[in-house]
């Protein structure tokens, strides 16, 4: 039991007596690790970052133990956005489950739909029409660009730059408007259906997409000039929070964070789904594994996504966008795992069917949750400002972490 720590509510200046209804005793450590964390050495203090803090993405709370400016220890506290999505899905039928998973990672919600849809389609053993597959690839890549441009601005904002986030929102806004024209919603699209997509491409979407594609690459490149060529930005991120490939694989890191360590693992190539095997694209990797590499890998991915969209638009066949399915989805008993490669890593859904119209069990794997556990090891020993840079470069979204 640590004894140096003193809850400041006992401080006479705040004067909350022990009998008062407002009095909260000091937390008692539950585990050995927690007891070690709660023990303060000389000159150390705790600082809460979050849940009401300008820089934590969403409602993450990070308890930082600092010695001066140095971060001695760090403990992310989760659960401020917990909704119990997995349990909600078990009490909904298969169509409803998709819209519960939608708000998990609200900046890239098409991927959160794609994973359960893939799992349910395996349960139903249904073939998705080719046009629907192309439309899914097209919209997912668009959403990937939207998510990465937001990341790019957000990273600069967490390092103190004001302008990049507004510039990158120009691209994101255009994509979001385009998808809104297609799906009717700006944030949570709810577009994918078991066996296809909800509605064919419409005229407004195509004309907006054409206009955007004609200038996208040049526009994104010019936005990058403000960040990539900035000495301060590069100096603050290079060599910060270095992640090596072995640790990354052991921790279950996926996506750009893994590829920045030199492991070219991408579900689109390694466990192909939809029409990805027919498309040509590179998998950008870097070997440094630091915050700058994580940033640059994402920037390269934007370029590859534009390349994919270009091919998809040229090769898209005609045909139906929805397979013939009964109105009430009632798969045979069994289990299936569906996964897609999202902007943050692998989104997976494991669903068990017991033959009724509701999933018996549903588990969601979210990359943000895995990546958030890296914040501690990567930040320990650095400065307070580096916590924000590392956290921004890992790019967690709290909706997915807390589920």
């Amino acid at each position: 039991m640590p004894q140096q720590t003193r809850p400041s509510l006992d401080d006479p200046r705040i004067s909350i007596p022990a009998g008062s209804e407002w009095y909260e005793p000091a937390p008692t450590p539950q585990t050995e690790r927690q007891a070690e964390f709660l023990t303060l050495k000389d000159g150390e203090m705790f600082v809460n970052m979050g849940p009401q803090h300008p820089s934590t993405h969403g409602v993450l709370r990070v308890v930082i133990k600092i010695d001066g400016e140095k971060v001695v220890d760090l403990d992310p506290v989760l659960g401020y956005l917990h909704r119990g999505v997995e349990k909600l899905c078990e009490n909904a039928d298969y169509h409803q489950a998709i819209c519960y998973t939608d708000p998990l990672e609200y900046v890239s919600s098409l991927f959160c739909e794609a994973a359960p849809v893939a799992a349910f389609e395996k349960l139903m053993e249904v073939d998705v029409p080719r046009r629907a597959q192309y439309i899914r690839v097209l919209t997912m890549e668009l959403n990937r660009i939207a998510s990465h441009t937001l990341f790019q601005g957000w990273m600069a904002l967490d390092l103190g730059g004001l302008t990049p986030i507004l510039w990158s929102f120009i691209e994101r806004d255009e994509i979001v408007d385009m998808l809104a024209a297609l799906t009717g919603q700006k944030l949570l699209y709810n577009y994918y259906r078991i066996g296809g997509v909800n509605g064919d491409l419409n005229h407004e979407f195509m004309s907006r997409l054409g206009t955007w594609m004609s200038r996208a690459a040049a526009q994104i490149d010019s936005n990058l000039g403000l960040i990539n060529e900035n000495e301060l930005f590069v100096r603050r991120t290079r060599g910060l929070g270095v992640l090596d490939a072995k640790t990354a694989l052991r921790m279950g890191v996926t996506g750009p964070n893994l590829r920045s360590t030199g492991v070219p693992y991408d579900l689109r190539r390694d466990r192909p789904y939809l029409v990805y095997p027919e498309l040509e694209f590179d998998i950008p990797t870097r070997t440094e594994g630091d915050s700058l590499a994580r940033y640059l890998v994402r920037i390269d991915e934007i370029k590859q996504s534009i390349r994919i969209i270009d091919q998809v638009l040229h090769e898209m066949p005609d045909g139906p966008v929805m397979a013939k399915l009964p109105r009430l989805i009632r798969p045979r008993p069994g289990r299936a795992f569906g996964a897609v490669e999202g902007p943050r890593g692998v989104y997976g859904t494991y669903a068990i069917s017991d033959g009724t119209d509701q999933p018996f069990r549903m588990r969601i794997h979210d990359p943000s949750f895995v990546h958030l556990q890296l914040v501690g090891p990567l930040t320990r020993g650095n400065l307070i400002a580096d916590t924000m840079a590392v956290m921004a470069s890992l790019d967690p979204v709290m909706g997915g972490v807390d589920k």
């Binding site: 300008p54 400016e69 507004l166 307070i384 400002a385």
Partner: protein, 449 residues
């Protein structure tokens, strides 16, 4: 209940104060005017007899008049320019292009709740914004706006500037320590570390200029730069100018050195627990500081009130209004009308689609612009102080624009990079600058002998 009591009951506290204050002010104003008319001669004689007190009063009033609108102007500039850089519109609701926005902001801050959390150290907590504001307010008094417009030409002006300007960090420390908040504490200590680190290169970088001019008085330093463009110290001491610019950016806590209030890390830094007018004074002092450091840079390195080009001709336009006699009031009455008509006529004749009143309005605006320009040109030609002031303000506000530009462009430096840069690069560079200057002076002097 009578009508007056009903009205009184419906008033807000602010309205009640105004309802009492306004009649008192009106009566007081009328009385003062009457007294001035009756005893004006005697008062003028008394003022003439006690010149130093009058000078002091004028100086302090003018300093107030400089700081308050300057801060508002700077806040508006920052909002609008950063908005344009962000491809936003920025303030556009109050006044033309949102120009009155910052004044309304000020009034809003004045009327907000000024909360004192029970855990703070109240006297220190209240005194901190006073110290921060004083540090910036008292440095305005040595700024040489023009040779004729320096409120106090202290002999040790430069040193005074650094001494008083350095006091501001004491206020930030006080705020950080007394707030009983960890973010505030971190912000205050960061402010102290940063300010003391950059104080050294800041003060050392101008030593070269002190060697060259042999004085610490700001008006004399400005006078030493009169002449051509190449006499400005930015061309004679370029290294010092670079060091000085970086150091004042850090002293004014501006991006990329705004670690003391890095909102992504420590929320609002030392000002986290402040609200209402006490917060307002921190905010106010920060913007006055930006103006002051820009003014100091333009005075020391950009030639202050000296014009970059000295015009070869000196127009002398002497207008003797007295010689007009009775024609003066008649001209003053007729000239605007005739001018407006003359300016409106070509517009009226140009197209039949332009209505008469539109032509008249346009004519009035054109005449107003022309006459203002003419009077301005006359004043610039005949009153040297005005021209000097305009040059000084142009230079100062260009620098303010550079600060705002940096804020819109750059991310923040980390604290270890910040401190390492001050001690490992700026300090040796400023010492090098001193010795290079001393050596050059030595060589030229001995060569002359």
């Amino acid at each position: 209940m009578s009508g007056a009591a009903l009205v009184w009951a419906r008033l807000t506290p602010a309205g009640r104060i105004l309802a009492v204050l306004l009649p008192v002010l009106a009566v007081g104003g009328a009385l003062t005017t009457a007294l001035l008319i009756v005893f004006g001669g005697a008062i003028a004689a008394t003022i003439g007899a006690n010149l130093p007190i009058v000078r002091f009063l004028a100086a302090s009033v003018i300093t107030f008049l400089i700081t308050v609108p300057t801060a508002f102007l700077l806040i508006y500039m920052e909002m609008k320019i950063i908005a344009l850089m962000n491809l936003r519109i920025g303030p556009d609701r109050i006044g033309p292009a949102g120009a009155v926005m910052s004044i309304v902001h000020g009034l809003k801050v004045l009327m907000k709740e000024d909360y004192t959390p029970p855990s703070v150290d109240v006297p220190v907590f209240t005194l901190a914004p006073v110290v921060v504001y004083l540090a910036s307010f008292m440095t305005v008094m040595v700024i040489p706006f023009a040779p004729e417009l320096t409120s106090v030409g202290l002999e040790l002006g430069l040193l005074y500037f650094f001494a008083i300007g350095g006091l501001g960090v004491v206020g930030l420390m006080m705020a950080g320590w007394s707030s009983f908040n960890k973010y505030s504490l971190l912000g205050g200590i960061r402010a102290a570390a940063q300010a003391i680190s950059y104080e050294i290169p800041l003060t050392l970088s101008v030593v070269g200029i002190v060697i060259l001019t042999g004085t610490l008085s700001l008006p004399k330093i400005v006078a030493a730069q009169s002449g051509s463009l190449l006499d400005w110290f930015i061309f004679r001491q370029p290294l010092a100018a670079i060091i000085f610019f970086i150091a004042i950016t850090a002293e004014a806590n501006r991006t990329p050195f705004d670690n003391t209030e890095a909102d992504q890390e420590i929320v609002a830094g030392f000002a986290t627990e402040y609200s209402g007018m006490r917060f307002g004074f921190f905010f106010f002092a920060e913007y006055v500081n930006v103006f002051i450091v820009s003014a100091l840079f333009s005075a020391v390195f950009l030639g202050g009130s000296n014009a970059p080009l000295v015009l070869p001709f000196h127009p002398e336009i002497i207008i003797n209004l007295g010689s007009l006699g009775i024609m003066l009031p008649i001209l003053a009455g007729i000239a605007p009308v005739i001018g407006t008509l003359v300016c409106a006529a070509p517009i009226w004749f140009a197209s039949s689609r332009i209505k008469t009143w539109q032509a008249l309005v346009a004519g009035f605006l054109i005449f107003g612009g022309l006459s203002t320009a003419a009077i301005g040109f006359w004043a610039w030609a005949m009153i040297p102080a005005l021209g000097n002031l305009i040059w000084f303000l142009i230079k100062t506000f260009s620098l303010v624009f550079v600060f705002v530009w940096m804020r819109g462009t750059l991310p923040r430096a980390r604290i270890d990079q910040l401190m390492g840069f001050a001690w490992k690069w700026l300090l040796p560079a400023s010492l090098l600058n001193i010795f290079a200057t001393a050596l050059a002076v030595l060589l030229t002097t001995s060569g002359g002998n």
